[in-house]
Symmetry: C2
């Protein structure tokens, strides 16, 4: 039997990506918003491809699409990603991983003999959460972190309720959690994705291994000073909340650099917010991320100390409100080693990096050994129609993913 | 004949202020928004007071209310301010000057002999511009800077057009400029006002002489960087427009301090403005003020240099758009000396300071020698119901204003 990895044909995955773009994308970007007709059409293309293979195809209680190729053991390696996109999104975000996983399944399914262990393909439902604001819908249902009561009444821009919309697509929200039975026998989860950031490209690299998804601390910091007339109040009499916030924002960057994490101030709202008044109140939205939970906690405490200090120096006060937080989710050390070796063999680089964005893999990593591979992202752009990756990078990434998959299958079969 | 200044009775002016507050103010603040029934009621109170005096009362083509006390010459000293207020405004902004001027007129009108020159009281229409956004309506009509075509179609929050609203109050907009005939024979304009800032109070002072109104340069600076994912973009790869703007805002303060002016960043708008994205574009609104036009120009050029430098250091660009500007309007040197002497005699201090806010006096100063006096403002607060000044400060300010008026009258009569 030839080595499976030598049969992986990136050109077939690229042809599938082109077909998907012809069907649900174009010059204005991808339009595979989950729970819409375009998304259903994308699913139809996947079903057509799966129907050509000797695999069992079905959809679980959360709307995830599965294709199961029985192997010589019940122990299962899952490969997958998501075909849904943000509106006017890119052609690769999610789709690369889906078509890469499909190519792995196709290669194994047409090899002539059953794989060493069972291999399941999955297309997760509503990874983006772009319609209702709740990302990782399908994978969180499987991992047990989806709480129906928290999402039932979310409404899209047109006023439709999440529960009603998913029901029209065959998902009974209160039964979505039953999809967790899909975890049975799963021994590993593998996902290929574009980086959605500039790191690999800036280092001249093609593919990288993902160490895990970073933890996030997201807060609103509200600085209170004193609104006053812009003309009649000398500088030394001011308690300017915007300047306190500006100093804080600049220090937040230094804190992130010091700890090798990231921090973003994405918005500042001044009150009264007119050109003739010193801002009495300024709210800033803060997003801090790090792969290590202890370091992330330190970044947050440094940030609060800095905000308190600058507020005091500006005659202001500051209050923090946590908007959202998630712990870092590290991937599996053994799978990381397998993936790095595969990348090294294909591209002569074994760069490993954390993922800033969340992925379905983070939900799977709560329960099963997991790893991801990233291809480069041109200009680091994603969630826009300009999203792209050089074809030769895509080919190498699909090859490295295939090599990672076959070695993981061998390892799971032997365990 | 007794010295007129010894007959000035601040208690009568304070009683008038109380009556005005009873009629058009209260616990929620003043409600003398111009061109409304409450403003008309305030005008009615003024007409009642003027009707008790041997003065000629009329309203000009721009809606300004005049009360003329003929003196021994046609040459005229004008005293006045504005009775209109912002919604939920303070009880003293404008009203102090109106009642102070009325008390000067009353003292002179009841002295038994005509004053040495003619004295006119004026209540300017719509100083605040709080309803249509165009301040100094009546005084700019008199000074010739009101352009009907620029204000005709301004609409209030209820959608009513300025031209229609002023017509309902007897003002034909296209004839408002004819009020400029009121400048004939005017030899001086004097106005008392609250400071609306913290300078006098912070120095333990009661009253001050105003050197002029500062010049204003008002701009929107737009920093353009690159929007990118808050999680996937390392700090060193970012082109963060908000941090460029934050550094600029902090430097703008240093520039103001260096030049002894003021500068305010009243608002910052980030795009896309979400916590998960680095701001690709940040607009800040900038207001710079100084009493000297050359220094103001220098402040602006320093600000542009700083913005360009910080933008470049952050990998961004910056564009400036002028929103509005006005030259500094210095008051009359001789009248400033008279006012400072009067303040010194009443309060033992001759502090002089620029006015950050604009006033009707700035329009008059374009054509006639002008000076203003400021009383202290508690906490520097104005345009709010908390606006206040200690009664003994009001009394001293009215006395100093009366002394300034009688000496100016003597001077004009002698000239």
């Amino acid at each position: 039997m030839p080595q499976t990895e030598t049969l992986i044909d990136p050109a077939r995955a690229l042809a599938d990506l082109d077909a998907l773009r012809d069907l649900t994308g174009g010059p204005d970007g991808s339009r595979r918003l989950c729970w819409t007709d375009d998304w259903t059409a994308a699913r139809g293309l996947l079903r057509d491809r799966l129907a050509e293979l000797p695999v069992t195809v079905d959809t679980d209680e959360a709307g995830n699409l599965w294709g199961r190729l029985a192997g010589r053991t019940e122990r299962t390696v899952v490969v997958g990603s998501h075909v849904d996109s943000v509106p006017a999104g890119g052609w690769l975000d999610g789709a690369l991983g889906v078509m890469g996983a499909l190519e792995v399944l196709r290669t194994l399914a047409t090899a002539g003999t059953p794989p060493a262990c069972t291999v399941s393909f999955v297309d997760w439902a509503d990874e983006e959460g772009a319609r209702f604001g709740r990302s990782l819908f399908g994978s969180s249902a499987v991992s047990g972190t989806l709480e129906p009561d928290l999402v039932r009444d979310l409404r899209d821009a047109g006023g439709e309720r999440l529960e009603d919309v998913v029901r029209a697509h065959g998902v009974e929200l209160d039964r979505a959690g039953e999809a967790s039975t899909r975890l049975r026998d799963v021994a590993a989860y593998l996902e290929l994705h574009i980086e959605q950031g500039p790191v690999l490209e800036s280092e001249g690299l093609v593919v990288g291994t993902v160490l895990g998804t970073v933890g996030v601390e997201r807060h609103r910091a509200t600085f209170e000073g004193q609104a006053a007339h812009a003309g009649s109040t000398p500088i030394r009499h001011r308690r300017d909340s915007f300047l306190a916030a500006a100093r804080c924002a600049l220090e937040l960057r230094e804190i992130a650099l010091r700890h090798d994490g990231v921090c973003t101030v994405g918005r500042a709202d001044c009150t009264p917010g007119v050109v003739t008044a010193i801002p009495g109140r300024t709210e800033i939205l803060i997003d801090q991320r790090h792969l290590d939970s202890g370091t992330l906690a330190l970044m947050l405490s440094d940030a609060k100390d800095a905000a308190t200090r600058f507020a005091a120096e500006e005659g202001c006060t500051v209050e923090w409100e946590r908007l959202w937080a998630i712990e870092p989710i590290p991937f599996d050390a053994d799978l990381i080693e397998i993936a790095r070796a595969a990348c090294r063999e294909v591209t002569r680089s074994d760069r490993a990096l954390p993922s800033g964005p969340l992925h379905d893999a983070a939900e799977m990593a709560r329960h099963v050994p997991t790893v991801m591979l990233f291809s480069s992202s041109t200009g680091g752009l994603s969630h826009c129609k300009e999203e792209d990756t050089p074809v030769e990078h895509l080919e190498a990434a699909i090859r490295a993913f295939g090599l990672t998959a076959t070695r993981t299958i061998d390892r799971v079969a032997r365990a």
